[in-house]
Amino acid sequence: MRSADLLSPVDVPGAAGVALQHPRGVLVLWIELAEQRPFTEEDHTLLSVLAGRLG
């Protein structure tokens, strides 16, 4: 994840993550979902938006 495109969420079954710029390097946010539920298109968008804001 740390070498992935910044602010481009990636998902695997049951989890999703996104990388963003950090003053000390790269910050990876990794969300482990409570269930094996699908991480939808809208979830991707929302994660990008939140990660961007955090960045």
Binding site: E32, E35, T45
Partner: protein, 951 residues
């Protein structure tokens, strides 16, 4: 000298040693004594007298003969107290009373046990004691005038027993009842019959105890069985050969004593004779030991035995008769069942005879006059056979109690007028007058229309058959409780001797002059049964050569009918097809025959309304090849496109391959019957509205109700007329077209909705959807019905939480009247969307069942936009409150966990380094602390600073 008046007793009196008595020698007797003795001896009436202080005994010849017995001549000159020592306790007080008061006594039929025959003998006497006075008028003796009543009293007693035995109120009864009754009566005479035992011979010849009187049945001395072999007493075999035997009982075993103080010492065994056959058993009668077994006593016991024998024979013969009657009734039932079965079998071939015949008769060309006449002949007889089959079936149904009736309140007058009009042309043609006088009744009568038609038509047909001059009158009137319908003719009448059997089944009056010699003798019997089902009565009055009147009474109202059999009023006015066979048959009796055809029989073979390109498609399912071919030809010639199959299974396959417009199916078919076919079609949404016409050989409402309940649109009973079948086919197609028009219009409306539309049944299965539904969820009408859990629900394994949410909302929907909710669902291609549903409960007007009607729209975009705004706002707030970088990161991780309700969120900070170089990131965690295998960060250092509150 004193004893001269009688030379028999006088001699013996003279021989008495009078000197040793208180009276002294007769020469010294006072005149009063001499006179008394003289009167005594000269009377031929039985008398005795006593005189003097010892009451010295004297009697005359009549007394000696009737009463004294073996005490003569010893008693003469003895003190009266000694002569009648055994009864002195009875007569002594009476004599004392005469002597002290001087008043005479009177006793009638007094029972006295006299010891005059060597045993205490039961005797009865009527007597008077009168005083005898001496010269000083003092009472010094008494005179007894006596007549013995023994024979009269005992005779009367025995007669009473025989009379009681004959007083049996019931004519016939079972053997056990008869024996019980006998025992009761014999118990009433413990004098002549202290006890009795009745034995009956079984088939093996053994005698079984069958009845007792005056003794317990299980008394120790009684043998319950006396076998036919040598071990039994001799009297058993003697009785079996019809001989009476007197047996000695002895005193060693205690026996009941009856009315007496001592037990019988003898018993008489008398065979129970039956007319012209071996004895059925024997009677053992304990005998009264105070009476001799004289001819009268023996005769009495034999009469009792004779009564028992006759009773047993009669009970046995009754039982035999009863069994025979039961067997006959059973035979009758079997016959009825047979008729019923065979009648069903007749129906299919009858259809195939009558249908083509009808066709040929109405063919305008190609049939010459000769052929036409023969066709008419065959047609009429076919109708007659059909009518007979129907009548037999009605009968078998009534007898089996399976006649289903539908009683509707009707205007009896109107219905009867209508039915009568069916017969008018035939009656006119016969040259008879026809009077129909049916003023309206002010109360309705509950009738089963089909049954009532048969009643009236049968009676009218009967009247026409037997009337040659004059006319026929039909009247409707009323009395206090009900309607009265009379059908009167001026026909030949019924002989008085035949009247009792008039309504008997299969009874025909022989040699009666009539228009036709045909007849099953079943019509009037059926009429009576049908009237009875209406709670009514039918009677007939007739005079030979004058005419006959049948009077039917049917009660008003429905109080006499079962609620189950009631039906709402029917507006139908025309008589059903039932009428035609009756009229056809009647017309044939008339000169000129049935040349014209009633209007109702003209078939209308017009083509269906639709044009040639739009030919209606009919599928025929019948296992009878002839029937298939007949129906196919009939329908093809009427312009339909016809396919044929041989059973219900093939029909289902054919229908699924290509949907016809109408299905005609036989009920009884191999593989899959007609009723099952209908059920299968109704269960499939694509064919649930497909019209189905069932054909059956089973007549009667119960069969058609069964067919219609299964979901058939119409029901036709074989044999049917071609015209009727075509009319029904056309009507059903027309109805279906109308229905389809409505359905298509509705579908178009629903499909035009932009919102998704669905209908759920009460179980929650989605049974109808529109186009927008399919566009939004990807699921189309081909998959209907969609049973819950619906395929668009979030997956139960991978998405439990949303699945639970949908489930909760869905259950709520099923229980609410209306509402709205927003749920996540999964498109058929797998993508998630959110829909906002609103729903309302509605009732299906046809089935009355509740359904949920709902619409929904896709709110995914709105939902996420709201979510985004909210999440961004929350994140901004966290960031604004944070003082340092770590604070900001910690707040953000917590917020992310909340937004996705995640199990855990990690924030890993990797110091800047080359990508390939392994570094240890700093971790911030919200949610569960432990590191799972799914984490790509793997073995992060445990020393990382923990940001999450749960950490």
């Amino acid at each position: 000298v004193v004893f001269r008046a009688d030379d028999e007793v006088g001699v013996d009196l003279a021989a008495v040693d009078w000197a040793s008595t208180p009276l002294g020698v007769p020469e010294d007797w006072p005149q009063s004594l001499r006179t008394a003795v003289n009167i005594l001896l000269s009377s031929r009436f039985s008398m005795w007298m006593a005189w003097g202080p010892d009451l010295t005994f004297l009697c005359n010849a009549a007394y000696r003969r009737d009463t004294l017995g073996s005490k003569y001549p010893w008693a003469l000159g003895q003190p009266a107290r000694e002569v009648w020592a055994e009864i002195w306790s009875d007569i002594g007080p009476r004599i004392d009373s005469v002597l002290t008061t001087g008043n005479a006594t009177w006793d009638e039929g007094l029972m006295l046990f006299l010891e005059r025959s060597g045993y205490p003998e039961e005797t009865y006497h009527t007597f008077s004691y009168s005083p005898l006075r001496d010269e000083d008028a003092d009472v010094v003796g008494m005179l007894c005038v006596v007549s013995e009543d023994t024979d009269r009293v005992i005779g009367a007693r025995r007669m009473a027993t025989l009379r009681d035995l004959g007083s049996d109120p019931s004519v016939v009864r079972t053997e056990a009842q008869m024996l019980h009754f006998v025992a009761e009566q014999l118990d009433g005479n413990p004098y002549d019959l202290p006890f009795t035992l009745t034995y009956l011979f079984g088939d093996d010849g053994d005698a079984q105890l069958a009845g007792v009187s005056g003794i317990e049945r299980d008394h120790p001395v009684i043998a319950q069985t006396l076998p036919a072999n040598r071990s039994s007493p001799a009297f058993v075999s003697m009785a079996a050969h019809g001989e009476s035997v007197l047996i000695q009982l002895g005193d060693s075993r205690p026996l009941p004593t009856g009315a007496w103080d001592t037990q019988p010492e003898q018993a008489l065994v008398v065979p129970l004779l039956q007319h012209g056959d071996a004895p059925v058993g024997f009677l053992i009668a304990g005998l009264n030991r105070h009476r001799p077994l004289d001819d009268s006593y023996r005769g009495f016991v034999e009469l009792v035995a004779g009564y028992i024998g006759a009773g047993v024979s009669s009970a046995r013969s009754y039982r035999t008769q009863q069994q025979r009657a039961d067997e006959l009734a059973e035979l009758d039932r079997a016959k009825t069942t047979f008729f019923s079965n065979i009648s069903h079998e007749f129906r299919t071939p009858l259809t195939l005879i009558l249908g083509p015949l009808d066709d040929l008769r109405h063919r305008p060309t190609g049939v010459d006059e000769q052929a036409r006449r023969e066709l008419e002949l065959a047609h009429r007889n076919g109708l007659r056979l059909a009518k007979l089959v129907n009548t037999l079936l009605d009968f078998s149904r009534i007898q089996a109690g399976r006649m289903q009736s539908q009683f509707q309140p009707v205007d009896l007058s109107a219905v009867t007028v209508e039915l009568a009009s069916v017969f008018r042309s035939a009656i006119d043609r016969a040259g008879l007058s026809f009077t129909v006088d049916c003023p309206p009744l002010d109360e309705p009568v509950y009738l089963d229309r089909d049954m009532w038609e048969k009643v009236v038509l049968n009676l009218l047909s009967n009247a026409l058959k037997f009337t040659f001059d004059g006319g026929i009158t039909v009247r409707v009137g009323r009395d206090d409780t009900g309607a009265v319908v009379t059908i009167t003719d001026t026909g030949i009448g019924v002989p008085a001797t035949e009247m009792p059997r008039l309504f008997e089944r299969f009874h025909r009056i022989e040699n009666a002059r009539s228009r036709s010699s045909e007849g099953s003798g079943i019509g009037l019997a059926l009429v009576r049964e049908l009237v009875g089902l209406h709670g009514g009565t039918i009677t007939a009055a007739s005079h030979e050569g004058v005419g006959t009147t049948f009077t039917i009474r049917v009660p008003f109202g429905a109080a006499h009918l079962s609620d189950d059999d009631l039906a709402p009023p029917d507006t139908r006015v025309t008589p059903g097809v039932v009428g035609e066979p009756y009229v056809q048959e009647a017309l044939r009796w008339l000169p000129g025959g049935a040349t014209s055809t009633p209007a109702s029989a003209v078939p209308t073979l017009s083509a269906p309304a639709a044009g040639a390109d739009d030919r209606s498609r009919v599928l025929i399912a019948d296992d009878n090849a002839d029937m298939r071919e007949y129906l196919t030809n009939l329908l093809r010639s009427a312009g339909y496109e016809v396919r044929e199959v041989t059973d219900g299974q093939q029909a289902l396959e054919a229908i699924r391959a290509q949907l016809p417009d109408l299905v005609i199916s036989d009920v009884m078919m191999p593989a899959l019957g007609g009723l099952e076919l209908v059920a299968a079609l109704r269960n499939d949404p694509r064919t649930s509205a497909l019209p189905v016409l069932l054909l059956s050989a089973r007549a009667g409402q119960e069969a058609s109700i069964e067919g219609l309940q299964a979901g058939a649109d119409d029901y036709l009973v074989k044999p049917f007329a071609a015209a009727e079948l075509l009319a029904r086919v056309r009507a059903n197609l027309e109805l279906a077209r109308l229905r389809n028009h409505h359905a298509r219009w509705r579908t178009a409306l629903v499909d035009s909705l932009q919102e998704a539309f669905f209908v759920c049944d009460e179980r929650g299965a989605v049974v109808e959807i529109n186009t927008a539904f399919t566009e939004m969820l990807g699921y189309g009408t081909e998959g209907l019905p969609y049973e819950p859990m619906h395929p668009w629900w979030p997956d139960i394994d991978t998405d439990q939480e949303f699945h639970r949410l949908v489930e909760t909302e869905f259950l709520d929907l099923l229980q609410s009247q209306q509402g709205a909710f927003t749920i996540p669902v999964t498109h058929k291609d797998g993508h998630r969307l959110w829909i906002a549903v609103t729903f309302n409960r509605a009732d299906d007007p046809e089935t009355g069942r509740a359904v949920m009607v709902g619409t929904f729209r896709d709110v995914t975009a709105e939902r996420y936009s709201v979510l985004r705004t909210t999440a961004l706002g929350a994140l901004n707030q966290q960031l604004a409150q944070a003082d340092a970088l770590d604070d900001a990161l910690r707040g953000a991780v917590g917020e992310l966990q909340r937004v996705w309700q995640a199990r855990r969120v990690l924030a890993a900070t990797f110091p800047a380094a080359a990508n390939s170089e392994p570094v240890t990131p700093t971790l911030a965690i919200a949610g569960e602390p432990s590191s799972g295998p799914s984490s790509p960060i793997g073995n992060a250092t445990a020393s990382s600073r923990c940001a999450a509150p749960t950490c």
